[in-house]
């Protein structure tokens, strides 16, 4: 049996990842995705298993750190903490900030561990099913992922689909592997774009530079942040969790389930879990007034997302959210393909992922629970001082993609501008990135299916599992239309 090495360097990587992740999560405007995108180049220096300890630490820390500003200043540090402030902030206002933070941290740990258990149990059987997939089913699964992205672009469904397919088109730029011929490449860039646009400059541009441009447009204003943790009216006790077992389990499972759905973000997990907790509560009227049930629901679900989002990534090769889309980059950089054969071909990396995720959750708890009083000072870091260093890290990361190519740095700036323009016109940037990541495989499996059938398009309806996926695609599209209709109706009602 192959085992991976676990030692001090993995522990240190995980620790560093969690700490940096918490800082990124705690600073409004910076996300776990951004942290992973920026620190991805460090994976060149290490093997994948060691790098995963850093990246998963960044992921867990980034999601968890969001609760700090959500509770203290009612600004979610990450979209995943959107509901944390609903009850966390009223608790802080009545002098229970530390209690709220510690309840949130504990709920995060439990949610993370629930999702880890789901990842452990459900990924291998799902991969075993997917192993029998032919190129037809693989093509349809990717198509399904693209329709789900669209379905969840609330109120802007067509724009969501458009962004996804635009990403696919950009992924096709360069040489086609079957006949080694170039397409969609201007003569000037024939050498630089032979292998197409590299993933790292694209995602760094989309997730780091766009954020900096957005902040620069509004003048990089710092919010006035004031907190007082020295006059607590009530302190934390583990007894606070009495009677919260079902809420914790449900929130962890909701987070995991939402994480499994490709393209759904942490904000959806938080909102769904919060609304479930409210609707099933005996006292729903108290939600939003500083009730710990709401805080637990939000924080339990958003950390549940971490393991859930890894399930489709590791079993089908489809990213569950924008952060796992970035994580694909880490695997690609090491030449490892995620998908149905991943666990079978890389059992040591699979075990490393499980241990790294568990360790990251435990470290997150240890790092945050007692020192939280000091960690909260992180939110006082001015963005104006952090962004220049981030620009430097982005440049280094992009340049290192192909072992030193200035074209990739230009590509990063180009995609930063593309992302900024897409955002300005209301197109979803994560949809674009997921389309870009899946585009190559979408084409490969489409062409393979066509080759196998002699060009007959009926082949896409010839296999039973394929037909089940078609049904899922239709359900997803029908849901998208229904949801779009509902969102528009709601918006009209709100206007009137």
């Amino acid at each position: 049996m192959e085992v991976f090495t676990f030692g001090i360097s993995q522990l240190v990587m995980s620790f560093v990842g969690v700490v940096i992740g918490i800082i990124f999560g705690a600073l409004p405007g910076m996300t776990a995705t951004m942290a992973i995108a920026i620190f991805l180049p460090l994976t060149y220096a290490y093997d994948l298993t060691t790098s995963l300890f850093l990246l998963l630490g960044l992921y867990v820390g980034g999601i968890s750190g969001g609760l700090i500003p959500a509770i203290l200043i009612n600004i979610p540090g990450t979209p995943s903490s959107i509901c944390t402030g609903f009850d966390g902030y009223p608790m802080a206002k009545r002098g229970e900030a530390l209690r709220a933070l510690r309840i949130g941290i504990t709920a995060s740990l439990i949610g993370g561990l629930i999702s880890l258990a789901c990842l452990w149990f459900f990924t291998p059987p799902l991969a075993r099913v997917a192993i029998n997939f032919s190129s037809i089913e693989k093509f349809l699964i990717i198509l399904f992922a693209l329709t789900i992205i669209a379905a969840l672009s609330k109120g802007a469904m067509i724009k969501g689909i458009f962004a996804g397919f635009l990403g696919v088109l950009i992924a096709l730029v360069g040489q086609f592997a079957d006949n080694n011929k170039m397409r969609m490449v201007p003569d000037l860039f024939r050498v630089d774009l032979r292998m197409g646009f590299q993933l790292l400059p694209v995602l760094i541009g989309l997730f780091a530079l766009v954020q900096i441009f957005q902040e620069a447009e509004t003048g990089m204003k710092e919010e006035h942040r004031k907190m007082d943790l020295n006059h607590e009216t009530r302190s934390f006790s583990f007894k606070d969790f009495k009677g919260q077992g079902f809420n914790l389990l449900r929130s962890g499972l909701i987070g995991t389930f939402v994480g499994v759905l490709p393209g759904v973000g942490g904000s959806a997990a938080s909102l769904l879990s919060y609304s479930q907790a409210k609707s099933m509560s005996k006292h729903p009227e108290k939600f939003g007034t500083g009730l710990i049930d709401g805080l637990i629901a939000s924080e339990g679900s958003n950390n549940g997302l971490t393991g859930g989002a890894l399930i489709p990534l590791l079993s089908l090769g489809i990213p569950g959210d924008s952060t796992t889309a970035v994580l694909i980059g880490a695997f690609m950089l090491q030449g490892i393909q995620v998908g149905p054969l991943f666990i079978m071909n890389n059992p040591e990396i699979w075990r490393a992922i499980l241990i790294a995720l568990g360790l990251a959750n435990i470290l997150m708890f240890v790092i945050m629970f007692y020192p939280i009083k000091h960690i909260v000072k992180v939110i006082n870091f001015p963005k104006t001082r952090i962004y220049p260093v981030i620009i430097l890290l982005c440049t280094v990361g992009s340049y290192a993609t192909q072992n030193g190519n200035m074209f990739d740095v230009w590509a990063m700036v180009f995609f930063g501008l593309v992302g900024y323009v897409l955002w300005k016109f209301g197109f979803s940037i994560p949809s674009f990135l997921i389309g870009f990541i899946l585009g190559d495989d979408l084409e490969k499996y489409f062409v393979d299916s066509i080759k196998g059938s002699g060009g007959n398009l009926a082949t896409f309806f010839s296999r039973p599992i394929g037909n089940v996926i078609w049904v899922l695609i239709l359900i997803s599209l029908a849901y998208a239309f229904y949801d779009e209709y509902k969102s528009n109706k709601k918006a009209k009602k709100a206007k009137a």
């Binding site: 220096a45 104006t384 060009g455």
Partner: protein
Amino acid sequence: MLRISYKPSTSHWLFPPIIMGILVFLMVIMLIQRAFKCKKQGKPFLNFKNYHFFVANWDTVRLPGSLVLLLLYIPAMNLLGFLPASILFIFLFNVLFVGLGQLASIPVAFKTKKFWSNPDFRSLLISLIISVVGSTVIWFLFGQVFKITLP
């Protein structure tokens, strides 16, 4: 049922036209949607007069400034080398993001001989410290410890 003719020599142009077709189709849908919306609201289809790409009161210094600095930083790395160019540009980014107004403190600080106690000049010194320390740490950590190729 529809058939697609597959020829290995032209297979690289099999898929891109399909995606382009889907994009054109989606664009037409978006235009139709917009036409209906505009008709319903009684607004013209093309309304450049009231259109604003940037938010109201957008920062006319920081946004174009950051773009210009980014575009200059890339050739500067070729010209000056990674570390000197990074120190210079990270300092300039700091000054740009914190506020160009602090530059006015330079003659005042030298005239009054008060450097650290002058808040604007102190801010400039902090920018300098961040740029030197930040760039050197990243150069050392990435380039020397992790052996990552730097510009």
